[in-house]
């Protein structure tokens, strides 16, 4: 018996052949004009666009008002990654729930882990709260590599800018001098702003912040403040009644000014309840660029958060 492929079979084989051979012809081959940077959070994009200037285009996958732990892995993000020259991610497993699949789906070898276009920004900065013992999820949703919310410390902002400049210079050596110039200008801006903000916070050194999640520790350390506790029982675990009772006792027994803060994307009910119970000021902080309408850039985020915290601490009962 000789085999005669049926009509559907023939159609399938022809489709496959066209798809395989025609692909390179259909792929755009426009000369690369700009370095395409894709970031997981808008703050990294803001830093990259300040360092890269007009030589880069940036796109952030997550929004500033969105919880960066739980971004939807939209297929359109895979499309953005497909065209990316540089991926900047926070790292420390902040994006573990959504980014790896997008990376595989992007089919872009330039941005896979280990490639030049893959910049894990946690390797550029100082990491806090690195677990000293083996962790388990009974301790909450902890990050084994340390606390990933490091961009809220301006010192780390400078380090991020430096690392971004280095990586851009590697990817696009022809414009190294421009990147360096931009980076210097931007880093000095951060340093000057940080000094001004530190002076604003100086009268409140040693006072307490009670954040909703553990994402404030970098800001707290930099600002010379202290964290009394978190509203969450454990990272990622809603506060229980018992935890809130404990928190009430702790607040009542601790002297010093205290304020309650939460990121814009966390529910404010519990935080507000604690704040009203003890007549503590409650503020929402922009965790990222775009977290609040006034937080339009990384520098604005720093400025905005510091101003809010300083104003709230000034209002807090001594």
């Amino acid at each position: 018996m000789t085999y005669q492929p049926s009509a559907p079979c023939r159609a399938l084989l022809v489709t496959l052949a066209v798809a395989t051979m025609g692909a390179p012809l259909l792929t755009p081959t426009v000369a690369k004009a700009k370095v395409r940077v894709v970031c997981t959070i808008p703050d990294l994009c803001d830093i990259a666009s300040n360092v890269g200037g007009s030589l880069v285009t940036t796109r952030s996958l997550g929004k500033g008002y969105q919880d960066p732990h739980f971004v939807d892995p939209k297929p359109s993000f895979a499309l953005a990654l497909r065209r990316a020259d540089l991926l900047m991610l926070v790292g420390l497993e902040l994006e573990v729930g959504w980014l790896p699949r997008l990376l595989t789906g992007s089919r872009n070898s330039k941005v896979v882990k280990g490639a030049r276009g893959y910049l894990d920004c946690s390797t550029l900065v100082k990491i806090l709260e690195v677990p000293a013992t083996k962790i388990s999820r009974s301790m909450g949703d902890l990050h084994p590599g340390g606390n990933p919310h490091y961009w809220m410390d301006p010192r780390n902002g400078v380090r991020l800018a430096f690392g971004t400049y280095k990586r851009l210079a590697k990817l696009d050596p022809a414009h190294r001098a421009t990147y360096k110039r931009n980076y210097k200008r931007y880093a000095l801006k951060i340093i000057r702003l940080a000094r001004r903000l530190k002076r604003l916070l100086a009268p409140y050194r040693g006072y307490y912040l009670i954040p909703y999640h553990q994402s404030m520790i970098y800001f707290i350390k930099w600002a010379g403040l202290r964290r009394l506790a978190t509203i969450e029982r454990l990272p990622g675990v809603k506060p229980s009644a018992a935890h809130l009772a404990k928190l009430h006792r702790l607040i009542a027994n601790t002297r010093g000014r205290k304020i309650i803060v939460s990121e814009t994307y966390y529910p404010s009910t519990a935080a507000r309840r604690v704040a009203s119970r003890f007549h503590l000021p409650y503020i929402r902080m922009a965790h990222m660029v775009g977290g609040l309408p006034s937080a339009t850039s990384y520098l604005q985020v720093l400025r905005h958060n510091t101003a809010r915290v300083a104003a709230a601490l000034a209002k807090a009962r001594p």
Binding site: Y3, P5, S6, P8, L12, A19, A23, L26, T27, Y65, Q66, D67, D72, P73, K74, S76, R82, P100, R101, T104, R107, S109, A115, T123, K126, I127, E129, V130, P131, A132, T133, K134, R137, M139, L142, G145, G146, F162, R195, K198, A202, P203, G206, W222, G224, R226, L228, L234, G236, K238, K246, L247, L250, T254, R255, G256, R257, T264, Y265, P267
Partner: protein
Amino acid sequence: MTHQVHRLTVPLWLVATVALAGDNHTALAQTAGSPAAARAAHPRRPPAAARVAHPRRPPAQVRPQKRQPKRNSPTPPPQPPAKAAPPAPTRGAAPRAARPGSGESAEVSDEELLRQIEKEADDSSSKVPKTQPSSTGGRVLRFIQSLNPDISAIGCFAGAYYYDHQLEGKGNIVPQGGHDPGKTGLHLQEIELALQSAVDPYFRMDVFLSISPHGLHIEEGYFTTLGLPAGLQLRLGQMFARFGRFNQAHLHTWSFADSMVPVTRLLGGEGLGGLAGEVSWMMPLPWYAVLSLALMSPTAGGSFLGEGDRAESFHIRHPGHLAYVLHLAQFFELSANTGLSFGLSYGLGPNNSGGYDLNMTHLLGADIYLKIRNLRRPYSDIQLTVEGYGRLTQVPQDLLFDWGLYALASFRLSKRWWLALRYDMVQIGDSSALLAFGFAEESPNPELPLPVDDQHRGSVAVTFAFTHFSQIRLQYNNNWTRRLDDHAQPGAFRLSHEVILQLQGNIGTHGAHPY
């Protein structure tokens, strides 16, 4: 070695940190030697109880930000709530910084500070692994840093109760998917063991083993290429075919505790999956569009050769004896809050009715999925899915057509609560003909073995998530089924009520799920 490196790098780093932090650290350095002085300088120091009885002190030990000079006090004195007015340096003036080792302070300009940070970054990148923490943390990082793949286990346990008053306690007659709790009682639906990692810069491998009372089987296990040019990607191994949305989803991602009727009855008890090689192409279009073609073993799924004796004795003699699955997936980001995906699927493969004469089964599928999620309110979303399936079965002197669909609406009500509604159905064209060629499904109930025919089902499920990693689900099915009578004619529809309670838990690092 590590300590030597630390000694080299820390002073520079300390300079930078201290300088940026301003006079805060100078004060610390000045009071460091004398606890009494520290107390005097900290009139508002909180009571000891506040420092010790810290309910939310994270189990993670905070990595020391800087190396302190040796002191008598075991804990560093907290920063004073600065009674004295802070020095008010003029704009741009250099703050005071501690000079490491000497305890003196020095003026550091902005540029100098920047140079120090750069030098420190360069040093750390060339000498020590980045994010090298203190020695304690280092031990843990070394523990984490291994070449093991991401390993996770997800357990799904269920208790089910079926009630059909006409059966007088003889159980249910409803055919079930591979993981469904098929009768009244307790069930281990599955423990899924997932191993996922990059193989090398060219491939990654994902293995999903399913462990249940029926034994261990490979649910999926495939290689994926990472960097083929022109938007191409290959997958090779055991996999669920890209045929619609639900067929690719694993049990723990479902909104219900059981499978969809049309998938179970038209594609196979565990969907359409098997050994395959698949090429997919991300088309160079302004929107996301991926076209894929899989060449599969003809034993894949339940509508082709299946897994019986017939399949075992079947030998592939030419390409027409393979099964083919073609799929087009498209996604449109209508806004930041709204995404719409749309898919078309086609499957082709030999069936059981024709020996080597190539009687073929054609599978058709279309799916649409809409997700509305207000990103400013992360704990609420709406997901709507509709999938339709058709099956054309070529048998001697006839072509049989069966079809089915499901419509699913899932609502996230709050951080922990979900509500899901579902309607799914299957319409069998000619059950008696399917029965004659061995395609019709038998009832799972040995006392009522006659094959089932059409089926309609309405379901509601409420899910409560304790955390992101565990959840409990209560589900009710209102299931209308009819079976063939003794004369192989469809009988009347009969209703059965089903209640399922399911518990799910996840340990380890599990890969991300698709949109």
